[in-house]
Symmetry: C2
Subunit: 239 residues, 2 copies
Amino acid sequence: MTELDKFPKPSVTVDLVLMSVSDASLTALLQKRTSSPFKGRWALPGGFVQIDESLDQAAERILADKARMEGAWIEQLYTFGSPRRDPRGRVITVAYFALLPHHQLAQARHKAVDLTIAKLDIPWPGEEGDPVTAHGDNAKPLSLAFDHADVLTMAIKRLRGKLDYSKVAFALLPDRFTLRQLQHVHETILGQSLNKPAFRRRMLDTGWLEATGQRETGTGFRPAELFRLKPGKTPDTAP
Amino acid sequence: MTELDKFPKPSVTVDLVLMSVSDASLTALLQKRTSSPFKGRWALPGGFVQIDESLDQAAERILADKARMEGAWIEQLYTFGSPRRDPRGRVITVAYFALLPHHQLAQARHKAVDLTIAKLDIPWPGEEGDPVTAHGDNAKPLSLAFDHADVLTMAIKRLRGKLDYSKVAFALLPDRFTLRQLQHVHETILGQSLNKPAFRRRMLDTGWLEATGQRETGTGFRPAELFRLKPGKTPDTAP
DNA sequence: GCAATAGTGTCTTTCAGACACTATATC
DNA sequence: GATATAGTGTCTGAAAGACACTATTGC
């Protein structure tokens, strides 16, 4: 152990960007800070990495602890380590993003009073360098703690990048979904509308989808067919 | 400081995957371990993150210290934090990849006797889950220390993913290069050959390239025109 | 002129965008 | 049957693959 103790050690935390797609926007779970630093501002749920758990395990634990959810798509995002990002001392944070269907994330909000589901203002499609802003229910911008605006920005960027070649979008939908819902998820994440026939062709050509034969109910007009993701290889965890 | 000290802290290091493309293969700089653990095996150059430097600064410092190089494309890759990855204790490592033209990497090798430039065996194109193997000059497989095979695997995966939409490939070439050299870099990273006219069209259509009017010399046949990357926005650092 | 690669013209194929059309559910 | 959306057929245009052809340099 002696070599390792020659250097002062930083604290290491894991922060979670717990995202979902609601009717109209991309959302993320934020928690109001009740103590210094950044008291009263909004932060990503997070916690210290225990000495005997892996980073992935820490992320899962925080997901279960703070949000009381399981089965989310979870994936390491980026590690933030600016020396002054936490006024209390040197804290390096490994950010993860986690994706859940909207109804599941909505439940989580009521597990604690200090939680909110913020709407994320998508920077204009294709633009670089614009920071994300988060809004509360009343559409007022939320003041974020630490460098969490940067974390949110990177999460959206990564989500967009993975949309085409991975199965991230399905993590934001219930088990059974219509192609219109799937297209809505894509459109919300990308911040632009897509061509319907082309989108349907592209999705069906991936071979990822399976028709269930069931249809949605309660529409008032012709109901769409429900699809589900074919059981297969687990989502690849690579960025 | 009190809250931070309630938890035992891990050590945090930065490891560098210093990559290049040689005549026939993708290469990475490895360093022979001279002490326990993994004495005699090959490791990525790395070092502890100092308490007052950022992760990016640590990566730059290690690049300068161990490899005595500057100006490389450098980018955070992934953070590895399995509790038992280092037998000495809890060590979390933030892996970076750095890209240099082959002639610059070759110089670095001679800065220290314990360095080698390993050839990386590209897992079959499109395949997932295959581990990378590294070979020395004599084509014998090198035994890697820690979880560095995983780090190399992820570095190649990331490099491939960024090839099409970013300017990574140019970081592996000298300032002036021919389109054939550029195609060779792409082919080596992807592990498959590409169609020449299509590749040229695609590259010239990006608008990234600028003809210099100069031609390569010493070919023995018709020399190709030298291009360079148009000066412009810095390479985007996002994964 | 010969060798060898640089660089291009063009045909075909593939796939996305556009748009209109048909189909089918609720009421 | 009216309405509103599901779902499809088909034209067009952009871009990649394939292949052959011309161009240019060193020797």
